[in-house]
Symmetry: C2
Subunit: 216 residues, 2 copies
DNA sequence: AAGAAGTCGTTAAATGTTTCACATAGTAAG
DNA sequence: CTTACTATGTGAAACATTTAACGACTTCTT
């Protein structure tokens, strides 16, 4: 299935959820049509880029009119598989893990943290944000067919846990630890390194001067 | 100052903090030298890319030898301004904000959350992770000369707070809310949209098949 | 001391992404 | 129906980033 979708540039694919969320907002506001220019201002992506992104999926708009919100939304729903919910496991119910559990990724999305694991007996058996916390020793037993994991354990435990998750059948890991984990080539890992993001911002601030502010 | 640093590609600049952290680790382990190949395996960046990245700063290594860890470290310390600490303000001490305050960004870094603000009276006056929480009404009074802000308020408050931060003299914002905020061109904003990251991972998982695993 | 092995720094090629600019096809209005 | 407008979809150019390949120099080995 989805033979030709492989050709969609990764940069485009990363923007799709962003588009989806905004189109969803428009729809709940009762808006009927939208132009690439309007979208551009809202999501801060060049309008030509938006048109190009959409064009990979065919002609979604009408010349001289723009895009029909309803049509766009139902298209994205299909494309991003918004109908089926992807269940996610969270490993490490510490500061960051707790924040994620309390935040409801469901609000706009098709993802749901279904189960959480921790090594600390004090946390096991509790419920955080409506999600049960299980002991990490029960990982294999309780994981079910969940295929995506959010990793928020201490970095020293990251590689070990990654190995175990892979062994247990996980296909994708969202890794928040600073450790760059190694996994088989069949497993997808995205790293979100918050300390690096903050440092990079500071570096840009100091070394890449921006235009002077124009008073508005 | 730093006239020619402007030429360093953004993609390279984003990787610098990552390199720095790993070189720091090597140094505390007492390692004396390292090759681009070793670095590559550790940080998961192609070795040619690492050599290219380093080369923007001149000849940091020696042919046939690799890089001297001590030398590399002291170079990065200078380049990334690791000597001076950049002070940061955090706006919105909720789930995510609390996690950031409890996490010590200082451990490896040159950034420190110095002060936090919230609108909720119940939080004001408390201390989270050693950082005082002030009332948002006192923002202008208490901000001092902090120039970087982490924004973790509800998305409905994001644009309003961004406007106020800019007015108060902030030059860079790390925005964790889903709202794409608008700021004057003199202010730098990085968006980290965790829900989008999770959805993008799921999209890649479903639409971009990876190679079959090879048993090791 | 000479040859083998290793690794950088860089030139050039390949690949990926964004942006410009406009013909085109459709809308809107009289 | 005709005219004026509007905003798409895309070819081509510009820009950015990654990767391959290798000459030059260093270190290591014998
Ligand atoms: N909190 C932040 O703001 C922040 C920022 C940047 C990076 N990080 C990274 O995110 C990760 C988590 O950070 P945190 O602040 O939530 O840490 P934390 O110490 O608060 O939480 C870690 C949790 O993992 C659990 N744990 C430890 N070993 C485990 C194992 N083998 N299996 C399962 N659970 C285990 C602990 O019991 C604890 O509850 C760390 O790697 C940290 O470097 C956090
Ligand atoms: N928690 C997560 O895992 C997560 C994930 C993705 C995105 N986000 C985004 O991050 C932001 C924060 O999320 P959260 O879960 O921490 O929310 P939260 O509701 O727990 O925290 C928000 C905090 O901001 C404070 N606040 C509200 N208005 C304010 C104002 N005008 N000035 C100062 N403080 C104000 C509130 O009192 C509260 O303490 C939200 O925009 C959310 O969409 C959070």
């Amino acid at each position: 299935m989805d033979i030709e979708q492989t050709k969609i540039p990764q940069a485009t694919a990363k923007r799709l959820p962003l588009y989806y969320r905004f189109i969803n907002n428009l729809h709940s506001q009762g808006k009927l049509r939208v132009s690439s220019k309007e979208l551009s201002e809202a999501v801060k992506v060049d309008s030509a880029t938006i048109r190009r992104d959409f064009s990979y999926f065919g002609a979604l708009g009408k010349k001289g009119y723009g895009y029909n919100v309803e049509h766009l939304l139902s298209f994205f729903r299909k494309t991003l598989d918004q109908d089926e919910v992807t269940e996610v496991a969270l490993i490490g119910v510490g500061n960051l893990g707790t924040a994620f559990l309390n935040y409801n990724f469901m609000k706009n999305n098709n993802t749901r943290i279904k189960i959480a694991f921790d090594a600390d007996q004090k946390r096991v058996g509790t419920e955080v944000g409506g999600v049960d916390v299980e002991h990490i020793d029960d990982l294999e037993k309780k994981l079910g067919n969940v295929s995506v994991a959010i990793l928020t354990v201490p970095s020293s435990a990251a590689q070990g846990m990654a190995d175990r998750l892979v062994e247990a059948g996980i296909s994708a890991i969202l890794n928040f630890t600073p450790a760059r984990i190694t996994v088989p080539s069949s497993v997808r890992v995205h790293h979100i390194d918050l300390a690096v993001e903050l440092q990079a911002l500071v570096y840009f601030l100091k070394h890449y001067p921006l235009e002077e502010a124009e008073e508005e």
